[in-house]
Amino acid sequence: MTVEANHKQAGRGIARVLMNIGRRRRPTTEVYGQPGAGRSSLISFATAFVLLLVWWLVTNAELVKPLFLPPPEMVFDKFVEVSSEGFNNATLFEHALQSIMRVFAAFALACVTAIPIGIGMGVNKLMRGLFDPPIEFYRPIPPLAYLPLIIIWFGIGETSKILLIYLGIFAPLALSARAGVRSASIEQIHVAYSFGASRWQVLKHVVFKAALPEILTGMRIAIGFGWTVLVAAEMVAATSGLGYMVLSASEFLNTSVVILGIIVIGFLAYMFDMIMRFIEGKLVPWKGRA
């Protein structure tokens, strides 16, 4: 076989692989199913790869100064450096751990308060009347606006940081729980009553169960809010944490660390979303199929 023929064959092989990328795993029984059904992970990887490539090309062609956008390899070097030697007295892992703890403390606190309150608001007039005005009032206010008040009231310690994140998470979680209790159909409720169920049994066996998918979605959205508020929370006299790392790096125009921090926050948020999605799949496999 000649070299040329060999190349040709290799070329055809690659073409076939490329064509198959889109085709593989295509479900044969649901071609006319839900719009957008099927796995998109390959495309996602391709998107990430292309973005990285554009970043690399733009910076290495020196179209932008490293002060504004350092090349990916420089950020990677920083990643190695901050991981081993640290930045402002803490390693990347320590910064990340600190932030995760803050977000999670707030998230856990929100779950045990916002979900019961939201459910209560959904099923009880009194609860709805009590909690609706404060929640609806503070919900659209940006956390940065009430941050000074929190500092005045609670000082600059850990309490204020966690409280700020907590407030960011509380409203969306409570509202999703409140909406979730409307998920049970009137027929499902009637069936339970016709078996002689008490009001409490209807709530326990029907309403709460039916609310679960929406509550889990609310938890996913809420923890996303938590990461959003993190940087604001760590503006307050923090000495470690990813938000703190980004903020103090920006003061020294250390753009690589800023970008590194952003990427790590984004990555962590994404990972937790994946975990939540996994839990969702395990807990409510019937979601959207009732």
Binding site: S185, V191, S194, V206, K209, V284, A290
Partner: protein, 257 residues
């Protein structure tokens, strides 16, 4: 054994554009061994009547009583089956069938034993642990019927339970229903839009007409008993008296509309 008696039941829904007389002085007796079918144009108050009997809504006027005792809301003596099967998707098949028993505090082993009995009565063996949303429509409806039967109610209230099924599945579930009805000796109140279904299943047919919702005519039927005595379903539906009855019912319904 018991008799359900609805006496001059009226239901008025207040509305901005004037009150809706969903049901006007409807009287109905459902006694031992009765399979009462309600038929009528959309909006003539069938579901309203069923909801009143089930106790989900209180009549504006009139009384509904079982053996002379007025009903005071929903109760375990009256089980419901809906068009949208209203199963609980978070429970598997057997837990759905056992749902009413669970509500009534029957312990797990006992309620599974009872549920299994009704699963096999409705031909659902082997699907105990299946997810309900993976079953076909006909099977889901049968789970709904099994669930209603499992608590051993006095009367089954069914609102177009087979309405969502295709013609073939529908006929087979009709036949299953009749066999279950004759084996369990339940009283049944059954709403349908299909004249054939009404004639084939019922021992008594009530025709209703809208605005205001009223019971306009009552027929006594025996096609279901003929089927249970062994006459083939298709022969019954093709017989002269069935066809005559069907035309009579249809002309009355069209006369109303």
């Amino acid at each position: 054994m018991s008799t359900l008696q609805a006496d001059n039941v009226s239901v008025v829904f207040p509305a901005d554009s004037g009150d809706v007389h969903a049901l006007d002085k409807a009287s109905l007796t459902i006694g031992e061994g009765d399979f009462v079918v309600a038929l009528g144009a959309s909006g003539c108050g069938k579901t309203t009547l069923l909801n009143a009997i089930a106790g989900f809504l209180a009549p504006t006027e009139g009384t509904i009583a079982i053996d002379g005792t007025p009903i005071g809301g929903p109760g375990a003596d009256r089980a419901v089956v809906f068009q949208k099967h209203a199963l609980m998707p978070w429970l598997n098949v057997i837990d759905n069938v056992a749902f009413g028993l669970q509500i009534q505090g029957v312990e797990r082993a006992k309620r599974y034993e009872m549920a299994n009995q009704y699963l096999s009565l409705l031909g659902l063996e082997g699907f105990e642990t299946s997810a309900v949303y993976q079953l076909s429509g006909g099977m889901q409806q049968r789970v709904g019927v099994a669930r209603a039967l499992a608590t051993d109610p006095e009367i089954l209230l069914m609102d177009k339970p087979l309405g969502a099924l295709d013609a073939l599945t529908r006929e087979s579930v009709q036949e299953i229903l009749l066999r279950v009805w004759s084996e369990t000796r339940k009283k049944v109140f059954f709403i349908t839009h299909s004249v054939e279904e009404a004639l084939f299943l019922g021992t008594k047919l009530i025709l209703m007409s809208p605005r205001p919702g009223r019971i306009t005519h009552t027929y006594d039927l025996d096609f279901s008993r003929r089927y249970l005595r062994g006459e083939p379903a298709r022969a019954i539906k093709a017989s002269q008296d069935f066809i005559e009855m069907r035309e009579d019912v249809l002309s009355r319904i069209h006369g109303d509309a």
